[in-house]
Amino acid sequence: MIASLLAQAWTAPTIDWHAIAPELVLVVGINLVLLVDLWLDEAKKWAMATITGLVLLGAVVPVVTLAVLGGDVRDAIFDGRYVIDEYALILKALFLLVGYVVVLLSQNELEEGGYYQGEFYVLLLVSVLGMVMMSSSRDLMSIFVALELLSIPAYMMAAWRKRDPRSNEAGAKYYLLGVFASAVLLYGMSFLYGTTGTTKLTDIGVALSGELSAMQILAVVFVLAGFAFKISAVPFHTWAPDTYEGAPTPVTAFLSVASKAAGFVALLTVLYLGLYGADEVHSPMIWAMAALTMTVGNVVALRQTNIVRMLAYSSVSQGGFILMPLAVMSTTAAESALRAVVIYLLIYAFSNLGAFAVIIAVSRSTRSGEISSFGGLMSYAPGLGVLMTIFLASLAGIPPLGIWIAKLQAFRALIDAGSTSAYVLAIIAAVNTVIAAGYYMRVLRQIWMSPVPDGDTTPIRPPSSVWLALGITAGGTVVLGILPSLVLRFADLPDLTGALGR
């Protein structure tokens, strides 16, 4: 009997190495970077960025091969708790790409700041690893672990400029609230586990159908609150502006895109697989959060004078738009909602990163984060001016630039649902696009129409890495805007939902 027990215990699961190759590449890469960092002397630290970049790109290779060879691996490994499917692969690719762009952006920042480059890249890689895992996790535990894996390094990166009290403050706030939020999340998860008896989302989904107990409702609410913190949805957004403003700009870019996206991925997975039975709980909650998020984010952004802080609020409101389709997650529109979120995350990543890239490039010479410091940019740096115009216009949702198609999809999902509440939300969103345009245009106004604040019109020469980042993001923004089919194709795969298929 013991033998049988042992025998059962020791049946080693067959591991599909190809399926988890991306994660493996990253893990190896992390160690590699660590070691190289030890031996490399300060003069050559610039190499770290290159290596990190290579690692990230290297991790993309297996993703592509998996996508091409259609590796749809579910129950084979980890019995459906860690799944590789198109849905996961798209997001993995997204995270890796974002990580790469962030590396490009951080390079000079770190070199010039003389910060701890090696460690930074290690942490970045770890965080990316967490995200990559998040996109495959289908179990409360793996989700939790992935979440922490991507968060904890982020806390430190936010506080990276050790001597800068603002950076400290950013890190501390982010850390404390983050931990608190994940504690709440855990507490909710524990109830979820307790009342359903499993941590596997699909099983939870099955168990949660029917009448909900108070405890389950509490659980659902707390879980949502935990993720809402990650995606900085109002009223769980308070950390975002402060952290974004204080953290080093590349890190801000990373947080506002990657970790937000990761949060959405988690939320999406949990809602779609686990909590679809609890729609009468999460639908109204998400509806309210979406409406609040876009509105509050927008109107407060109207008042900002610091561009990073303004973008922080803008990304809050953008989060509201991404959240919007989730409000109709439980209806027949579930598919289009899911698709809308994924598309939005993809395109939003390009535009937002691009905007931050421009800010990094400009503030390197102006040494200021005020919106007014962009005055007359067109006169001395038309290239950057045009790029910023493209990114902000895209964020404002003006065709034919990236995000318009994402917004279109979001609206589409709502109207597909066709319920009154959905229409109301759509109208609110419509009005919000106008408000949003208000502050994006304010920046463009500075760039195009205002005089240069300090007569200094020496042309800006961003480093080649930043140019590359700008190229990638701008290209993505424009191309995806004009030919959305390129990405929509992925999102259109039947097994995006099929994969998550309950």
């Binding site: 698709r339 067109m378 038309p382 115009t389 216009a393 404002a396 003006i398 065709p399 034919p400 318009w404 198609i405 279109l408 999809q409 609206f411 589409r412 109207i415 597909d416 066709g418 229409y423 759509a426 109208i427 419509a430 009005v431 696009t433 106008v434 345009a437 208000g438 245009m441 463009l444 106004r445 195009w448 129409m449 030919l483 959305p484 089919s485 929509l488 194709r489 999102a491 259109d492």
Partner: protein, 529 residues
Amino acid sequence: MNMATITNDNWLLTVGTFLPLVGVLLMMFIPASEERTHKQIGIVTSAVTAAVGVLTLLRFDYGHSESLQFFVDSEWISVIRSNYTIGLDGISLPLYFLSMVVTLLVMIYTWDNMPDAGNPKSFIILMLVLQVGMAGSFIAQDLILFFVFFEVVLLPMYFMIGVWGGEQRQYASLKFFLYTMFGSALMLVAFLALFFQTGAESFSFAHLAEAGALIDRDVQIWIFAGMFVGFAVKVPMFPFHTWLPDAHTQAPTQGSVILAAILLKLGTYGFVRIAIPMLPQGAKAWAPVIGILAVIGIIYGALGCLAQTDMKRLIAFSSVAHMGFVMLGISTLTEFGINAALFGMVAHGLITGMLFFVAGSVKHRYHTLEISRLSGMLIQMPRLGWILGFAAMASLGLPGLAGFWGEFPAILSAYNPNFGLNVGLYRVLMVIAALGTVLAAAYLLWLYQRTAFGRPNPEFDAHAAHPVGAGVNDDHHGADIHDVTPIEWIAWTPFLIAIVVFGVYPQLMFDVMDPAVSALVERVGAGIP
């Protein structure tokens, strides 16, 4: 609208629409300092584009102007079932071509009338992009595609007003932008609602016109409401018009001309092409509202004009009144009305565009547009004065000039509207609109009398010392007050000729539009039980 399509030479439209982008690309790689080169490229590009437009005119099969021609339907965003569907019929042909010509002439005008802010590179690039958006909106046969082109126009115009405009430019440009944004956001919601109400099969106009009519009435009314806001802002109709005077007044001459000649038409075109045929019952329910607002706009715009002290602002307000006539025609849902509306769009484009040109040149010479300070223009600049008079006469709807054919049939059509709309109401509207023509005469003549007649204001009379008679010959004048320049002649003559030609022989346009309009009205009628 018509299902029948002709796909000969289907490359024409795509080329004609996107050709300006070639110029843009070219200019990207030329330093901004080489201003002449940029201007040349701009003119050449728009000229070639216009040439393609002429070719389109030649290849157009006027025998079947009610069916879409040069039709293309290829995959675009398959996921959301939106295709790259383009085509041209009698309704869109005139506007499509007009947009090309106007751009060309504005380019020419720019040659030596560059706004003070300078930097022709960006200016011309923006105009070319604008052209793409305008032309595209008129050929699009797919809602999403239309929406994209419709929005493409926004940014360039925003920058044109905001960068090269007058003192209030930043306020005006932002107002223009947000206002239009607002409209198009609601419009988009309406589009999507329409899409799903018709079974989420396709965004193509043809399909939606087929399926839209089957939606039940209340839903149609709601969807129409959304589109109404979107288009009414663009037109602009009465309560949504306040962006227009500011935008027009502040915009550089070129901006005003393009705005008046083409951009406003996107709204009315949207009504004719999208809102009405796709939602017949909604249209019928809304028609009285549109009619009333239109007539309010006519009177209201005229009154606004009478109150103006600034020439350009007066012209801007007159647009509100004129578009009122257009909308009145549309709201009757009759062939007469819609024909008149379409004709009125082109006529208003030519005439008001011309007026803005003149205003720009006056500003260029006097550095003011204060009506009270201008006078005796006919003495200092006889030709410019006569052109102003000509345009004013055309604008007040004098028969024999283009304006009349947009105005009179519109009024006529209001006498008995289609599809059992309330006849009594519309006859009242007709009479009020007719009174509007009197007001139009009032403010335009009043403007003309005070600016062109009388003796020149001493502050501008270079020869104030000499007897006034010295003002007779143009060459006696101060450097900046000179008569029409050759470039201006080149840029304006086509407008002037077109105004006369279409006024004398309107059949040129009616012949093209009427079959399409008849087909459209028929379709609408079919949709109304």
